[in-house]
Subunit: 308 residues, 4 copies
Amino acid sequence: MDKLQDILNEITATLATREERGKPADYIPPLAHVSPQHFGIAVALNEGGLFTAGEADLPFSIQSISKVFTLTLALGMYGDALWRRVGREPSGSAFNSIVLLEQEKGIPRNPFINPGALVVADALLAHARAPRETIGEILRFLRFVSDDETISADPLVARAEKATGFRNAALANYLHSWGNLMNPPDHVLGVYFHHCAVTMSCAQLARAGGFLANAGRNPVTGRSVISSVRARRINALMMTCGHYDGSGDFAYRVGIPGKSGVGGGILAIVPGVASVAVWSPGLNANGNSLLGSEALEMLSHRMGWSVF
Amino acid sequence: MDKLQDILNEITATLATREERGKPADYIPPLAHVSPQHFGIAVALNEGGLFTAGEADLPFSIQSISKVFTLTLALGMYGDALWRRVGREPSGSAFNSIVLLEQEKGIPRNPFINPGALVVADALLAHARAPRETIGEILRFLRFVSDDETISADPLVARAEKATGFRNAALANYLHSWGNLMNPPDHVLGVYFHHCAVTMSCAQLARAGGFLANAGRNPVTGRSVISSVRARRINALMMTCGHYDGSGDFAYRVGIPGKSGVGGGILAIVPGVASVAVWSPGLNANGNSLLGSEALEMLSHRMGWSVF
Amino acid sequence: MDKLQDILNEITATLATREERGKPADYIPPLAHVSPQHFGIAVALNEGGLFTAGEADLPFSIQSISKVFTLTLALGMYGDALWRRVGREPSGSAFNSIVLLEQEKGIPRNPFINPGALVVADALLAHARAPRETIGEILRFLRFVSDDETISADPLVARAEKATGFRNAALANYLHSWGNLMNPPDHVLGVYFHHCAVTMSCAQLARAGGFLANAGRNPVTGRSVISSVRARRINALMMTCGHYDGSGDFAYRVGIPGKSGVGGGILAIVPGVASVAVWSPGLNANGNSLLGSEALEMLSHRMGWSVF
Amino acid sequence: MDKLQDILNEITATLATREERGKPADYIPPLAHVSPQHFGIAVALNEGGLFTAGEADLPFSIQSISKVFTLTLALGMYGDALWRRVGREPSGSAFNSIVLLEQEKGIPRNPFINPGALVVADALLAHARAPRETIGEILRFLRFVSDDETISADPLVARAEKATGFRNAALANYLHSWGNLMNPPDHVLGVYFHHCAVTMSCAQLARAGGFLANAGRNPVTGRSVISSVRARRINALMMTCGHYDGSGDFAYRVGIPGKSGVGGGILAIVPGVASVAVWSPGLNANGNSLLGSEALEMLSHRMGWSVF
């Protein structure tokens, strides 16, 4: 796999010269000040070995990438019953749109748009009873799948999101008005803002996604996280819904499942082969990392990793 | 005007036998238990004289009828500058729809749908600084226009609305996310729920609306409330937007400006002639008093009061 | 009524100097070339007398103003049964929007937006059987109400609308797909484009609207056109729906019922008093005559003609 | 591959006993009378060999499956320039919705919903000039990729669709009104209805899809149809958009790219392995073959063919 390392180096070198780097999310103050010059990438192969390039060890705010893990956790608790409260279809609209929610009477289209993730957070809360406990459970799960006890949430980011998150508060209250939240909106938002505020590096994130690439089992520790069927299904959701209103484009250009976050990170899965994490804070028009998407397109092309 | 009294008596007698009386609003617990058997009507003539029939002295929750008075108050403070934050067009959708708000980037279509009234409440708050102060100001204004110091808000209703008002909380947070609230959503909702919880009888309400029928001046006390142009304009808004998604139908059948509330009250204005209040708690499909609308249709027809 | 003539002259003089005159509709080629410098106004009083100023005798394309007359005709044929196929509520969206039509399953919101007028044309067709016959019937009705045998449709305008009217063809086919057209879309469009292509002057139009101002009876000939109740109701519809998405604003500023056309004409009714026609080809953002609206605002203000 | 034949036989036997078989499309008369008892399946392996079960040689109306082939043809003519006129994102709404088209100003969300396929038909027309010529070109292409000169369109079905296709006529006229059709709506609809009326058996369809499973090259004849990159990209579009508003569910349950038609057929691609066609006329709520989807889910599961 020298070839893989060479490819990662080339990609990193190519993108280092890129002038058009997108714009960091500006609505969460601590994220607005992160430089778009950052770039890191990490690949964790199922067969073993972690390959990195750029700032792969610098922690960043994983934001919506966390939704992959909260969904995994909630499916473990509720199984398919979870799908009574949230759909599995691409949304055809922006990540924080409230319009579809009215049309669909409070059932969010999928667990990766904000209202869907709020429902998942509510489901986790119902299980654990208290926001603090639930946040603890999510963190323990992240530490378990990544085999790394240092992972935690950044309280400053969580607080900043709470202070500015009126759109998410609108969504939570709206879901409650449709009877699709069991807990007080404030509690659900607390859990949601905290899991979005989790900080990880590309290296940590690539390792954390390993079980999705490896039929539900952590390829390093060998510990089973979920069944292989469920792993496949989560990958399918990442393919159709993982990039908001740019999911079709990502599938078309990159050809592997992925989930992006407004912090500029993307977790992508090459089923049976590898888990990949990339980070560059500048976003494109759909709110996905501009250089991150490009890096994954190059990597998928060079390695022949498209599932299609 | 013996004729008017006879007509009111006949209308009341006719509707007393009506079996189909609509359904009281069920989402605000204290309102859900009000019997749909109630009916009252009061007419305050500009030339003097208050004519009533039925339970015209029984107080009820005026709910959205209060929006006519908060709008009047806010126009007095801000003048036409208020229209930068809220439109003057019928909405073509339900009173608590959030869809149009997304399309119109946080500018509610008119001050009588819930998001528009929240913006008006926010404007009043900005003027008075504290929710308690603002609520006081609104109550003082209602007492002034109705020349009745006993008018107050029902704290149980306000609290019940707060406890169940997730849809309104969604709207307030959503408006804030578009930058169209200046105050914390909680404060705005506090003011809003309190003015909706004001309790008045038909007799009080008919007197309170007198200034709108009388070119801006209270016909009893003679005190000027607003200019005649502004009174006409508020009447125009009541005509086009006063009955949510049933405004066109009300104009078509009744032919005078009116504003309804989910408590089952309607305030209707016969410009130059009279202010009318009617109350019956059962609502039609659009959320307007079923028998109240009918009573006004009969009254308008019998008295030749249609403006058309 | 010397005063009325003076006021009309003053309004015409004031607006003659106006530089911002709006933009003529550009999507119907023959209308695009009409100069925005034109201005005419005519007032037909119920008590007798036609007062005019500016180019009140120059014929122009009445376009959507014709919908008032086709609606009157269809109500005469079908009575309230017509309302099963078309609503009576303001639309909250542009005159040719197709969105609401999907939400409301093929029932247009009101007879003055394009899809509603297509349903009315279809109803007229069903009565008369052939497009040519139906167009003849509409023209005869217009000649009857205006007491003027010279009124006709401009075949060049009708043909131009047909050649460019893909949006209306979309609406007609869409209505048919919902089962709310009985006749082939092409026939319905033929009738629609022809009645929109009728040419009238302000003087003719003011006389044609007389029956709406005079309780259903032509004030000059004394002939009854419709019942007084129906006249009132058509006026109510003009108030709530007559200016597309600017209806609320027109009611607020002018305070009388009116119906505009993209040719720059507006027919306005002062119930019990007068029928007014105004024409200036430049349109505002909502597709209504810019100077025409202003002229009516001035006239209503100066004469105290607001119904509110 | 005895195992494959056994699995196909088992699936066919299992589904033969199924009582709930969905409902054939009823809006195209000739399709409404096809019995939901039919079931056929065919698998064409890249490595050679065609495996079938049930009525795999009975021809049926491929309907929207044809959109895969017209898209392939249009991409061959225009390359990525085609994407200026049509998007690549899932639509989040029904296959014939007109709402999104208004929001997105006449650019359909993807080439597999009806308006997108109309734009593709228009692009093909612009290349060939006449509807008859264009239809001929599409048929020649289908015969080429399936290596079968007998493939043709059913004129009765094409005519029936034309006679009842008001919704599609609405879409075509609407696209034209936005300037996104170059040819007269009638011509575009003619081409569209004809390619939807193509009749093929499962065996023929599985062979026709072979190039998509085999990196762009027909696995039997060895002839190159498109580049391997383009084949992958078309597969990606089938994954995210191939089943209308049930695309996410199909990806989740079946895990391979597929395109359904309202005739009850589905073409599914196992990249690098096989092209699969299945047919059963009863549809589920999203308009996709009920038993066909289930058969593919079983097949994918038993063979381990999910790409995830």
